[in-house]
């Protein structure tokens, strides 16, 4: 059953039980699809020793960058940390205050997809022969080389969708969809912030992108 939270402070209520040491999958590609209000609530909540999974490592001084700045994130798993506006991360990394695991973007998505789909591990052709495959098991299958990749599971996923119904079915908007649907499947508890909640039955079932089974809490902002 999905909880729909819509009162003042709903974002804070939604993340109130995130414990220290949690792995948190955070949606978004740059600013598109980044659940800023949920990230801000997680920052206020103050859980420490977090592992964060996101495509990037924060932009500017808001959202994920502001969370990193608190020093509460022990490790970030991402594909593309270095950007023109990633100064918060750059400073933490260069002073040894954050751990970084760089993962090719497709492997990042597929490792979460595997977690959500109950796959124990998978062989990917991405990264073979590169420094990012060092120390990993390799196998040649039908003449092509692959490297073994393990799932990334989250304790929590914080994602941004556009519209939810009261069951928790989600519809996204344009390229803000990005990692949302995959992360929703890969976490024990998935929290989606949305700008619109409609009555159950108001979404065309043919158009639902994330079915309600993957969504635990909806926060209306």
């Amino acid at each position: 059953m999905t909880d729909v939270l819509e009162a003042d402070g709903a974002a804070d209520e939604a993340v109130a039980d995130v414990p220290d040491g949690a792995t948190v999958l955070i949606g978004g590609f740059g600013a598109a699809g980044q659940p800023i209000e949920l990230i801000d609530a997680l920052r206020r909540h103050g859980a420490t020793d977090l592992t964060v999974v996101n495509n990037n490592a924060g932009n500017g001084d808001t959202g994920l960058a502001a969370l990193l700045k608190t020093g509460h994130v022990r490790k970030i798993i991402c594909s593309f940390p270095r950007q023109s506006d990633s100064w918060v991360f750059d400073d933490l990394y260069r002073s040894g205050r954050i751990e970084l695991e760089v993962v090719p973007q497709g492997n990042l998505a597929e490792r979460m997809r595997a977690a959500g789909a109950g796959i124990g591990a998978f062989f990917s052709p991405t990264g073979v022969g590169t420094p990012l495959a060092e120390g990993k098991e390799e196998r040649t299958i039908e003449g092509r080389d692959y490297v073994l990749e393990y799932p990334i599971r989250g304790d929590y996923a914080l994602i941004k969708a556009h519209t939810a119904d009261r069951m928790g079915n989600l519809v996204y908007r344009k390229t803000a969809r990005n990692f949302g649907p995959v992360m929703a499947t890969a976490a024990t508890t998935t929290i989606a912030q949305v700008v619109d909640v409609v009555e159950t039955g108001a979404l065309d079932p043919e158009n639902v992108v994330t079915p309600s089974i993957f969504v635990d809490k909806v926060v209306l902002l």
Partner: protein, 211 residues
């Protein structure tokens, strides 16, 4: 002898070589210039790794929508027939061999088509790979757009890459200011030279280029 090519002229050469109706991913940076030279009549469909087929030009004015961006995080517009999808599907299109062409920048390309374009290997550099490794091994045709020589004059087309690799034996053609090079089983074949003779290019690259 013709002059060396400008970035725009290289982009035009690449655009002219992209087959009709191809699904194409243009890497961030210089390869995005290729889009300016694509003839829309030829039905090329642009893919962006962040979950869209049918990407259009950069958005201007009221068209700008923070939910509609390209891989370089620049606002863009939709074209008719566009579609949106999540990241696992987007990279399945690459890894699964569905994408016809990708165009990438490079620090170095080896004579066997090894690509180095994600990391300088410098001790203080922050590594960032994005979708480069998935594109390199995924697209059917991987085209590289780069200057032939680095700022220090050394050739970026090399016997063996010295920078950390992005993918092994994945590049099919290299488009540069001084020539278009095809990576073949026999070796590197020069298709056309610009602003230099074949012998000068052999001399400056130190490679046994084939005619």
């Amino acid at each position: 002898m013709s002059d060396a090519l400008s970035k725009d002229q290289i982009a035009k050469l690449i655009a002219d070589d992209i087959p009709q109706g191809a699904f194409v991913n243009l890497g961030i940076g210089q390869p995005t210039l290729v889009a300016d030279h694509l003839d829309l009549e030829r039905g090329v469909v642009l893919h962006t790794e962040n979950g869209m087929l049918g990407m259009g030009r950069a958005a201007v004015g009221d068209e700008i929508d923070e939910d509609l961006i390209n891989a370089g995080k620049i606002p863009v517009v939709e074209t008719p027939g566009a579609s949106y999808f999540h990241h696992a599907d987007s990279f399945a299109m690459m890894r699964g061999g569905h994408l016809d062409v990708c165009v990438l920048g490079a620090f170095q390309v080896s004579v066997r088509g090894d690509l180095a374009n994600w990391h300088t290997g410098a001790p203080d550099a922050i590594p960032a790979v994005g979708g480069a490794m998935d594109l390199a091994i995924g697209a059917k045709d991987v085209l590289v757009m780069m200057t032939l020589f680095a700022k220090d004059g050394s050739s970026k087309l090399v016997e063996d890459c010295t920078y950390p690799l992005t993918g092994l034996a994945c590049v099919s053609r290299v488009y540069t200011d001084h020539g278009v090079f095809k990576i073949t089983d026999e070796g590197v074949r020069l298709r056309e030279a610009y602003g230099a003779t074949m012998d000068e290019l052999r001399e400056r690259t130190g490679l046994d280029l084939l005619d």
